[in-house]
Amino acid sequence: MTETPAETPSVRILVVEDDAPIRRFLKIALASGGYDSLEADRGRAGIELAATSAPDCVVLDLGLPDMDGKAVIAAIRGWSRVPILVLSVRDAEGEKIAALDAGADDYVTKPFATGELLARLRALLRNRLDRAAEPAEQVIGPLSVNFANRAVRMAGREVKLTRKEFDVLALLARHPGRLIAHRQFLTTVWGPAHADDTHYLRIAIGHIRDKLGDEAADPRLIITEPGVGYRLAEA
């Protein structure tokens, strides 16, 4: 996938982050990626800006001095579906999951490389931009997933998947590069009653990996975010 954001001018990213050096380098990094940025150093100011300037995406630091990051997410979700990318420190898996549950779309762990951040943003924005016309088929490297006739091919060979396995892979393939949380898989594929049966998901992922010839220990397609979810590699 080589589409560049430059083709869609004036994509605005709202950065809500209290630390000035991080804001400064984010501004440069975002500009280098071709994005405009808006900045807020407090949660309240961030919510106001989100409401008044209609950003295309929000990058939100969870550790804000004036209010809890999750409250900011909840406030924005009160009226907007704008993608939210959370910045969080390591070892706060609980925080990350809570933020995802509150309505965040993905996260990046501090300290992070700007490349990683830009990739996440791209995944989130692509989804938003592509919403109008969902492709019938998604191709990621050697993998192609045809949503219409539920067919999966790996390096040209057809791969037989069960219904659930296909649903899981389809969910990943619709949003390449984007994190899909356990809960999201389970409620979408197995139904809300199975929101906590993570072993269903784990087994299904295991089978899909086997069939695609992907290895958990050296993943090229399905990447594990331990304790949180999975994402499909981009290209």
């Binding site: 220990a217 050296d218 594990t224």
Partner: protein, 908 residues
């Protein structure tokens, strides 16, 4: 008013010198006693006069208590001196005024005047005697002057009584008087004293009262004056001797000889003690008062034992060493053995002058008098026999137990004789057996009764037996008359034999009882020693202590110890701790602060029900032990006190030991944490700074290299270096955080079934750059069950292990990560081809801040990595181990982690 001081200039000078030294050292206060032969000689007057002179010399003087007895001249003399208000005490409707000890201690003058040294305080005062108040004042570092008449000196008390016919109850122990730094004799010729008496200038103490004329007779006063002069003179000698001894001046005094006074429950005991005191004093040798306990004493009523104990207590107040010896039967041998062991040269024993009662005489048939035997056997000692003056009022007290009714014993006596009579019947019918056999049967019965129930019962059996013998088996039969002379001899022989047999058997029984009692005591002490040695911490020791004191001494026990603020608190009690009244609390505090026993049976607060002894280990008291006996007199029994002290000693040692052990453990912990803190500081300063130095260095190069001096490749190289170092820093901080959380136990793994491959995949992608120089092979069997672990934490553990392998193994070598299921666990091994870990280091590499010392100068690790691996793995209930790699090459670190149960429902 001649002071004897005039006649001894040389020693006085020496002593003054020594005292000046003592004062400079800030020791206890000095005691000066104005000694008089009789009331009215002017002691108080002299004391005040001297005090005024001292005050003029700038000394801070307070009159703590002076009796003017309404004499104007005395009161006038007191005028310019500061007087301390007295303490008013209500006692039986009377108001008594006493010395206000606490006020005096609070006032802290340099010199306090306290009149009438021998005064007895009102009941309920802290000390029963004023001389005890004075000692406390002296201990507080305050000088005291006081007054005393010689009839109040303990060892002179009965001599004065003999001279004057008036005995005073208020006495001061000689030991206390010996503590006086100065004794000034106030002398007044008898004529002048009588003149003053007639002029009404003498206050007559109530004890003298009726005997006034008798007391103040010219002859008495002369005798008393002589006694007083002699006392003062002997004091001079004693001071001189003490000084010469202290300064190692060779002198003519006898060395190490001792005087032994033997006392028992006989009324002569106290007179013996006083006589012994005078003899020892005259000979200037230490003296010992001993009593020997035999089986007889074990069975004695408390009253008889108390008489012995009274004598021993008197001896203690007179300055003797006291001891209680034990003997099976041979009192004399025990005394002589002790005397030889202690280098005793003189022995003092007593003997009742009065005629012995029939009962005494009966007993003396079998037990020769101690005094007589001592005279025979103690040929290498100088033996003095003292005869009692008074009537032996309590003559029988000691032996009353012999005939105490023992109804079971008498019943057995009757039964035994009845059985013997029956048993003898067939023998009597058989003419072939001589009549002596019958008496043997009766003798057996007496022996049995004596052995079971002691002497009294055996005597009853003897009487009954001789009657039964006479009645049934001598002609004429069934009468008490005897016709055959042979039978008369038989009965007499039986009587004599029975009395001896019974006595021996009775004594045997008493001995057995003593041995049992001693054995019980020993067992209890031994048991206690064992229990207390096993007690691990102070709490256990205290509990064992309280319990065993109560069990051993048959009393209630308490242990009090100071809390953090220094207030004494009850920490243990048996059967329970309880509220102490003010008196008991005061006694406990006193015992703790002064490191001396207090309360019941002691000189301090004796009205209290409780006796407190300090728990002293070395110089300081750790706390106090309190005991309360149901029978209060038991608290006075020296045997009980000795046992209490023995137990107290054991408890104190055990507490000290437990405390030391705890302190040692604390010290070890704090030393360990000190070491860790040091290592952490080292690690932080080194491992944080090194990557920062690189980051700052490279980035500043980039910042300053704008002028195109750097080509694109250099730029890229610098940027990547900075990035690597920054990431290294990040991992290090992560390790520090993990370690902190492990240390606080704040790390709670969120366990879930997880595939090992997923964790490895994540770790490899995180470490991609670090591992780039090595070949990484992963061998995880496809059928390896899921792990039951927190994927993030175990990911961190694997990150550290792999990073470690990459750091030590040379580039280009292979790092193999393999796993297998083994007994419900997954064994995950990371093997490298580096230098390996020396065998002795394999356990220690998992210690915090431990680094394997390397021969070359490779940058060592942080010393955190593997310690965190162990912490993380153990938090999952797993284990971690270091071994040599395959073929003995390289290092292999194996993590053992729990496997998850396989879910049945896969939802597919």
């Amino acid at each position: 008013m001649a002071s004897t001081a005039d006649e001894r200039p040389a020693p006085e000078a020496f002593l003054e010198e020594a005292r000046t030294e003592a004062r400079q050292r800030g020791g206890p206060g000095r005691l000066k006693v104005f000694l008089g032969a009789a009331p009215g000689v002017g002691k108080t007057f002299a004391m005040i006069g001297e005090a005024r002179a001292r005050q003029r010399a700038g000394v801070d003087v307070v009159v703590a208590l002076v009796e003017t007895h309404g004499r104007a001249e005395t009161a006038g003399l007191l005028g310019p001196l500061e007087q301390l208000p007295r303490r008013m005490v209500e006692y039986r409707g009377q108001t008594l005024s006493e010395l206000d000890l606490d006020a005096l201690l609070a006032r802290r003058p340099q010199l306090a005047l306290i009149d009438e040294f021998a005064h007895t305080n009102a009941p309920g005062s802290r000390h029963p005697k004023r001389w005890q108040d004075v000692l406390e004042v002296l201990d507080a570092g305050i000088d005291v002057t006081t007054t005393l008449n010689i009839q109040h000196i303990e060892s002179l008390n009965d001599i004065v009584a003999r001279i004057t016919g008036v005995k005073v109850a208020e006495t001061v122990p000689d030991q206390v008087l010996q503590r006086a730094d100065d004794i000034e004799l106030i002398d007044l010729p008898p004529e002048e004293l009588i003149k003053r008496l007639k002029e009404g200038k003498v206050y007559v103490p109530h004890q003298v009262g009726r005997a006034l004329d008798n007391f103040f007779s010219r002859g008495n006063l002369t005798a008393l004056r002589e006694l007083a002069l002699r006392t003062a003179a002997s004091r001079v000698d004693a001071e001189m001797l003490a000084y010469m001894q202290a300064n190692a001046v060779r002198g003519p005094w006898p060395t190490e000889e001792r005087l032994l006074v033997c006392v028992n429950e006989a009324p002569v005991a106290k007179a013996l003690v006083r006589a012994g005191k005078r003899m020892a004093e005259r000979a200037r040798i230490p003296w010992i008062v001993a009593t020997v306990l035999t089986p007889r004493h074990e069975a004695m009523p408390a009253g008889a034992r108390a008489a012995t104990m009274d004598a021993l207590r008197l001896a203690e107040t007179l300055g003797a060493e006291t001891t209680t010896l034990h003997a099976e039967s041979d009192v004399v041998a025990e005394l002589l053995h002790y005397a030889r062991a202690r280098n005793v040269s003189r022995v003092v024993v007593g003997r009742a002058r009065s005629r012995a009662s029939w009962r005494d005489r009966l007993v003396f048939l079998f037990r020769e008098h101690v005094a007589d035997r001592l005279l025979d056997e103690a040929t290498d000692f100088e033996v003095t026999v003292v005869t009692a003056h008074g009537r032996p009022a309590r003559r029988g007290a000691g032996r009353a137990h012999l005939l105490e009714p023992d109804w079971r014993g008498y019943a057995l006596a009757v039964a035994a004789i009845a059985v013997a009579s029956l048993a003898a019947w067939p023998i009597a019918m058989w003419d072939a057996i001589p009549g002596g056999a019958i008496s043997a049967i009766y003798l057996t019965a007496v022996l049995v009764v004596g052995a079971r129930h002691g002497l009294a019962a055996s005597l009853v059996a003897t009487a009954l037996g001789s009657m039964a013998y006479n009645f049934f088996y001598t002609e004429p039969y069934y009468t008490l008359a005897v016709s055959n002379p042979e039978d008369i001899v038989s009965i007499l022989v039986f009587l004599v034999g029975a009395v001896f047999t019974g006595t021996l058997a009775g004594r045997l029984k008493a001995q057995v009882e003593t041995v049992r009692a001693a054995q019980r005591r020993t067992e209890t002490l031994y048991d206690f020693a064992r229990k207390i040695a096993a007690a691990g911490n102070s709490d256990d020791v205290l509990w064992a202590g309280a319990y065993h004191i109560a069990a051993t001494l048959d009393c209630q026990s308490l242990i009090l110890m100071p809390d953090a603020a220094g207030t004494l608190e009850q920490v243990q009690g048996h059967p329970t701790i309880e509220e102490l009244d003010a008196g008991a609390e005061g006694a406990a505090r006193w015992a703790f602060e002064k490191n001396e026993p207090a309360g019941s049976g002691t000189a301090t607060l004796p009205m209290s029900e409780w006796l407190f002894v300090p728990l002293a280990a070395g110089e300081r008291a750790l706390g106090v032990i309190g005991v309360r006996f149901r029978d209060r007199s038991r608290g006075l029994d020296p045997e009980t006190r000795r046992l209490l002290l023995a137990v107290e000693d054991q408890v104190a040692v055990a507490i000290e030991r437990a405390r030391l052990a705890e302190e040692l453990a604390d010290a070890r912990v704090s030393a360990e944490s000190e070491r860790l803190r040091g290592a952490l500081l080292n690690s932080v300063s080194h491992d944080l700074r090194t990557p920062l130095a690189t980051v700052i260095g490279t980035v500043s190069t980039l910042a300053e290299g704008e002028a195109g001096t750097l080509n694109a490749a250099d730029r890229r190289e610098l940027v990547l270096t900075a990035l690597d170092e920054a990431r290294r820093l990040d991992r290090y901080v992560q390790n520090l955080l993990d370690m902190t959380r492990l240390g606080h136990g704040a790390l709670s793994p969120k366990r879930a079934p997880v595939e090992l491959g997923e964790i490895v995949g994540r770790v490899r992608s995180d470490l991609a750059r670090i591992l780039a120089g090595h070949r990484v092979e992963v061998a995880i069997p496809r059928d390896l069950p899921m792990l039951d672990v927190d994927p993030v934490l175990i990911g961190q553990a694997l990150t550290n292990v792999l990073e470690n392998a990459a750091k030590y193994a040379p580039p280009g070598t292979t790092i193999l990560l393999s796993a297998r299921a083994e007994g419900g666990e997954a064994a995950i091994t990371v093997a490298d081809q580096g230098p390996g870990i020396p065998e002795g280091e394999r356990e220690r590499v998992f210690d915090l801040f431990h680094r394997v010392t390397q021969g070359d100068a490779r940058p060592a690790g942080t010393g955190l990595g593997l310690a965190i691996v162990r912490g993380l793995v153990e938090a999952h209930g797993g284990r971690v181990k270091a071994q040599a790699g395959a073929g003995g090459r390289g290092a292999a670190i194996t993590l053992r982690l729990p496997l998850a149960a396989t879910p049945l429902d896969d939802g597919a």
